[in-house]
C-alpha cells in the first residue's frame, strides 16, 4: 500500500507568501508529487493557528492520511505543534515532517521566482523523507527521587531547599569546608544594601538542618554514571581529620592551633586562618577542617594541639579520604564562578602597587566580619583613603581578555562607591565604559550615587602608576585615562584603586563538563539547552544548571535559576517516570560483527559490548541520539531512529528533485 501524504503550505501571513508563491507550491505538489503519494496539498494563511491545525486533522480523519508534511517555519518553532495536531487526530506524531520555507527560504530571498522554486525543492525533500518515517513511541524510564546538587553557593542552596521542602531527598556536595559560596564573602548586596550574611546565613542553616538534605562539604564528585532518572555518582569525601559525630563545633581546636596561613579562598588573600579552620563563624556545617598541607603535625610530626584541647576527642589524624556512592535521579550543577586574574593586565599594577585591590578583596575589606572589621583602610592598616578610584570592566568587554559583559560589575562598583563614601567620606572616581543598570531598582541606585557626588569618568583606564609627573601626585596612585566625554587625557591621583574584575568560569569548568557529559561555550560557560526558552536544562537529560556557571549573573538571577532548576526536577520526580525523545540508535544484533568501532565513539558510554555474544548494544536511556555511531558502523548494523539512512538519502533525492526528474525521463 502506498502512503497517503498530505502537504500543507503555510503563508505565515506575508512572511512566506511575500516571497514564495504559496498557492503555486501547493498546486505543484499536488500534481508533480502525486506519484510519490501526495493525495492532498493545501495552502493556508496560518497553519499553526487552531484552524490550520484542524485542517490537517480533518484530512487525516477523512482522507486517511498516513503521512503529513507541513512547509512553514523552522522545526525548532512549531514541530511540536504539528506533531501534537497529528497525534490528536490519531496519527503517530513522528509521521509528520515540518520543513522550513520561512527561515531558510522566504526570509533570505527577495526574488519570488527563486523563492518559489526553492520552496518546491525543500518541500519535495520533506515528502521523500516522510515516506521513510516510522511510527515511534517516546521512551519511558522510572526516576529515582533523590537529587544531587553540586555547589553550595546561593544558586545551589536555593535549589536544594526548594526540592527538600517539596519533600524529596537532596544530596548536596560542596568543595569548600562550608557552603555559602561567594555570597558569604560579601558585606552588602546591591541595590538594597541588605547585609549579605543576614539574608544568606538563615538559608545556610536551613540546608544544614533540613531532614531531607544530606550535606557533604569538603567533598567532590569524582564519577558520574547512568542516565536521567538513574544516575550513580561517586563522591570523594576528603578527610577532615575531624570526626563529625563527636565534634560540637565549639572552636577550641581553631583557637589553640598555633599555625596561621594566608586564606586565599574566603578572605581573598587579605586575611589569615588557622591550619584547622572553619572559613567563617557562621559556616555550615560547623565542623572545622584540618588543612593537612599546612598542619604542623603533618609537616613535622609534632604539635597535636588541637587533639590535646578537643573536649570531645573528635580529632582523628588518621582519617582517610572516603569514596561514597549514591543513586540519584537528577543532578543540578551550580558550581559558580571565579574572579578574573587581574595580574593579566600588568599596567593596572595589581600585586606591584600595594593599594590596588581586586573587587573580592574590597568585599572582604568592607565586610564587618572581615580582616579589618569593616574599616576601609589602606595597606598600612590604619589610614583611611581620601580618594578612591574604581575601575569598571577589568577583564570584561575587552577583546584581549573576555569579550562578554560580566553583568554585575557596574552595580558592584556603584555599591563600592557608596560604601567608600559612607564609611570614609573619600572622594570616589568611577571609570566606566558604559553604566549598565538594567534590573529592578538598579537605575535608581545609580541615580542615588550621582546625587551622593560620586565622579563618573567615561573612559577605559590606560595605566595605573605611582610614578610622579605632575605636582600633587606624590605618594599617590595616578590613574591615566582618556575622558571620552570631554575628549581629553586625564591623570587622576587617588589613594586606593579597586579593580572591578570580571567573572570567569571556574578554571575546572571544562573538567566538570566532561565529568557530567555537558559542554561549554567558547567563553567557557556551560551551555544551556536553549539560551532563552530553556536556560536551566542542558543537552544531557536529567542534568540542570543554575547560577553563574551558565554565565555571569547577580544574586536574584542566580536564586531564580536555582528555583527554576528545582521546579523542573520536582516536576519530573512527581511524574515518577519520564519520557525521552525516541531519536536513538539501535544495533541490529544479527548484522553486528562485534568490531567495537562504535564503542569508543560514544561520549555518553551508551554502547555496551556483550563479551559473550560478541555484539554491541545501545542503552536507549543513555543514548542522546547524535548518530555518530550510525555513520561509523561498517556493517550498517546501527540504525538511527528519526534520522535513518533511508530518510536522509531520500531527502537528498527529494531536495535535488530527482523524484520529479525521473518521472519525466521515464516513458509513460
Amino acid at each position: 500500500m502506498s502512503e497517503k501524504i498530505g502537504v500543507y503550505v503555510c503563508h505565515c501571513g506575508t512572511n512566506i507568501a511575500g516571497t514564495v508563491d504559496v498557492e503555486d507550491v501547493a498546486k505543484w505538489a499536488a500534481e508533480q508529487l502525486k506519484h510519490r503519494g501526495v493525495v492532498i496539498a493545501r495552502d493556508y494563511k496560518f497553519m499553526c493557528s487552531s484552524l490550520g491545525q484542524e485542517l490537517i486533522q480533518k484530512d487525516i480523519q477523512e482522507l486517511g492520511l498516513t503521512r503529513v508534511v507541513v512547509a512553514a517555519c523552522s522545526p525548532h518553532l512549531h514541530e511540536r505543534t504539528f506533531r501534537t495536531a497529528c497525534k490528536n487526530a490519531g496519527l503517530n506524531p513522528y509521521l509528520c515532517e515540518l520543513v522550513s520555507i520561512r527561515e531558510q527560504c522566504s526570509w533570505i530571498h527577495a526574488d519570488k521566482v527563486v523563492g518559489t522554486e526553492k520552496s518546491k525543492a525543500i518541500l519535495s525533500g520533506g515528502v521523500e523523507r516522510v515516506i521513510w518515517h516510522e511510527a515511534l513511541e517516546p521512551l519511558r524510564v522510572p526516576i529515582h527521587p533523590a537529587t544531587l546538587v553540586v555547589g553550595g553557593g546561593i544558586a545551589g542552596i536555593q535549589a536544594a531547599l526548594e526540592i527538600a521542602d517539596a519533600g524529596f531527598p537532596v544530596i548536596m556536595v560542596e568543595r569548600e569546608p562550608s557552603i555559602g559560596g561567594h555570597m558569604a564573602q560579601f558585606d552588602k548586596t546591591f541595590p538594597t544594601l541588605d547585609c549579605s550574611a543576614c539574608i544568606l546565613t538563615p538559608k545556610m542553616v536551613d540546608v544544614g538542618n533540613h531532614p531531607n538534605i544530606k550535606l557533604l562539604s569538603w567533598a567532590e564528585v569524582t564519577k558520574v554514571d547512568g542516565y536521567v532518572g538513574n544516575f550513580q555518582v561517586v563522591v570523594k569525601q576528603k578527610a577532615r581529620c575531624v570526626v563529625t559525630e563527636l565534634c560540637t563545633g565549639c572552636g577550641i581546636c581553631v583557637e589553640k592551633c598555633p599555625k596561621k596561613v594566608v586564606d586565599d579562598v574566603f578572605e581573598a588573600g587579605l586575611g589569615k586562618r588557622k591550619a584547622i579552620y572553619t572559613p567563617f563563624p557562621q559556616a555550615v556545617p560547623k565542623y572545622p577542617v584540618l588543612d593537612r598541607e599546612n598542619c604542623t603535625y603533618f609537616i613535622k610530626g609534632t604539635c597535636k594541639a588541637c587533639e590535646k584541647f578537643c573536649p570531645t576527642g573528635a580529632i582523628d589524624f588518621n582519617q582517610k579520604d572516603e569514596y561514597l556512592q549514591f543513586d540519584v535521579g537528577q543532578i543540578i550543577l551550580a558550581t559558580g564562578w571565579e574572579l578574573f586574574d587581574v595580574r593579566r593586565i600588568p599596567q593596572y599594577g595589581y600585586g606591584r602597587l600595594p593599594n590596588v585591590l581586586t573587587s573580592l578583596e574590597f568585599e572582604r575589606l568592607s565586610n564587618a566580619a572581615g580582616p579589618t572589621g569593616g574599616k576601609i583602610v589602606m595597606k598600612d592598616g590604619v589610614t583611611a583613603p581620601k580618594s578612591v578610584g574604581i575601575v569598571h570592566c577589568v577583564g570584561s568587554r575587552d577583546k584581549n581578555y573576555n569579550a562578554y559583559c560580566s553583568s554585575i560589575c557596574c552595580m558592584q562598583s556603584l555599591k563600592f562607591a557608596h560604601l567608600v563614601h559612607e564609611r570614609t567620606g573619600a572622594e570616589v572616581h568611577n571609570f566606566y565604559i558604559d553604566i549598565r543598570t538594567p534590573s529592578k531598582g538598579y537605575e535608581e541606585f545609580y541615580q542615588r550615587l550621582l546625587e551622593e557626588g560620586t565622579h563618573f569618568v567615561r573612559g577605559k583606564v590606560a595605566d595605573i602608576t605611582n610614578s610622579v609627573r605632575l605636582p600633587g601626585e606624590e605618594g599617590k596612585l595616578v590613574i591615566q585615562v582618556e575622558d571620552t566625554l570631554i575628549g581629553k587625557q586625564r591623570r587622576i591621583p587617588v589613594d586606593m584603586v579597586i579593580l572591578s574584575a570580571g567573572l570567569e568560569p571556574r578554571h575546572d569548568t571544562k573538567e566538570v563538563a566532561r565529568l557530567f557529559g555537558l559542554s561549554c561555550s567558547a567563553d567557557g560557560w556551560m551551555i544551556e539547552r536553549h539560551p532563552k526558552l530553556d536556560p536551566v536544562a542542558t543537552m544531557t537529560d536529567g542534568i540542570m544548571i543554575a547560577g553563574c556557571l551558565q554565565g555571569p549573573k547577580d544574586i536574584p538571577a542566580s536564586v531564580a535559576q536555582g528555583a527554576a532548576a528545582a521546579a523542573r526536577v520536582v516536576g519530573k520526580i512527581q511524574q515518577k517516570e519520564i519520557s525521552i525523545e525516541p531519536v536513538r540508535a539501535t544495533v541490529n544484533q544479527d548484522k553486528c560483527s562485534g568490531c567495537r568501532i562504535c564503542n569508543n565513539l560514544c561520549p555518553f558510554n551508551a554502547i555496551l559490548y556483550h563479551e559473550d555474544r560478541m555484539v554491541s548494544e545501545v542503552n536507549p536511556a543513555l543514548c542522546q541520539g547524535c548518530g555518530t555511531c550510525v555513520a561509523a558502523c561498517p556493517a550498517g548494523a546501527i540504525t538511527g531512529t528519526g534520522f535513518s539512512n533511508e530518510q536522509v538519502l531520500a531527502q537528498i533525492e527529494g531536495l535535488l528533485m530527482l523524484n520529479v526528474k525521473r518521472m519525466e525521463t521515464i516513458p509513460a
Binding site: 500500500m1 502506498s2 502512503e3 510519490r36 503519494g37 498516513t66 523552522s74 522545526p75 525548532h76 522550513s100 520561512r102 527561515e103 531558510q104 527560504c105 526570509w107 533570505i108 530571498h109 526574488d111 527563486v114 525543500i122 525533500g125 515516506i131 521513510w132 566532561r514 557529559g517 559542554s519 561549554c520 561555550s521 567558547a522 551551555i527 539560551p531 543537552m539 531519536v583 565513539l601 561520549p603 555518553f604 541520539g625 547524535c626 548518530g627 555518530t628 550510525v630 555513520a631 538511527g640 528519526g642 534520522f643 539512512n645 536522509v648 538519502l649 531527502q651 537528498i652 533525492e653 531536495l655 535535488l656 528533485m657 530527482l658 523524484n659 526528474k661 525521473r662 518521472m663 525521463t665
Partner: protein, 155 residues
C-alpha cells in the same frame, strides 16, 4: 553556459548550532545565495560519507558540512569525529576525480547566522567557478542504465 550556471549545493547542518545559525540568518532577514538546500542532522557526527556521495550522485554540485565549533558540540566531541571524517571524504572524492573544492566544512554557532550566510555566499561562488559536476545520471546527456526510477514504497 557558465554565465547562467546556478550550482546546487546540499548542506548538512547539525540540529543545535548550524541549523540554528540558518534559522537565525532567516530571522535576521540576511539575504544570501539560494543555491544551498539544507538537511538537518542531529549532529555533524551523523554525517555518513554515503550522504556526500549520494548528494553528488543525485545532482549536487557542492556539499556543505556544518556543525558546532570545536569544543561547543552538544554531544561533547562528536564534531571532532565529523572533522576527521570530513578530511577522509575529501581525499576519497579527490580519488574519484571530484575537485576537493566542491566540499566545505564550516563551523557555525547558533549565533553566527551572518557568518553562515557569508560563507554560503562564498562557497556558492567557489562552486560556480568550478562549473557543473554532471554526476547526476538524469542530468547528463546519456542517462546510464543504472538510473532506476525510485522504487514504489510500500508500507
Amino acid at each position: 553556459m557558465t554565465d547562467t550556471f546556478e550550482p546546487t549545493i546540499i548542506g548538512f547542518t547539525c540540529n543545535w548550532c548550524s541549523y540554528r545559525a540558518a534559522d537565525m540568518a532567516g530571522t535576521a532577514r540576511i539575504k544570501y545565495a539560494p543555491n544551498v538546500r539544507l538537511i538537518r542532522l542531529m549532529c555533524s557526527g551523523r554525517l555518513d560519507p554515503t550522504f556526500v556521495l549520494k548528494a553528488f550522485a543525485s545532482g549536487a554540485d557542492g556539499v556543505l558540512v556544518s556543525g558546532c565549533h570545536p569544543g561547543d558540540c552538544h554531544y561533547v566531541e562528536q564534531n571532532y569525529k565529523a572533522m576527521r571524517r570530513f578530511y577522509l571524504i575529501k581525499r576519497l572524492l579527490a580519488q574519484m576525480g571530484i575537485e576537493p573544492g566542491r566540499i566545505k566544512l564550516l563551523w557555525a554557532s547558533a549565533a553566527e547566522g551572518a557568518i553562515l550566510a557569508n560563507e554560503i555566499n562564498k562557497f556558492t561562488e567557489e562552486v560556480r567557478a568550478l562549473g557543473p559536476l554532471h554526476w547526476n545520471p538524469t542530468q547528463g546527456i546519456e542517462a546510464p542504465a543504472h538510473a532506476q526510477p525510485l522504487v514504489e514504497v510500500t508500507a
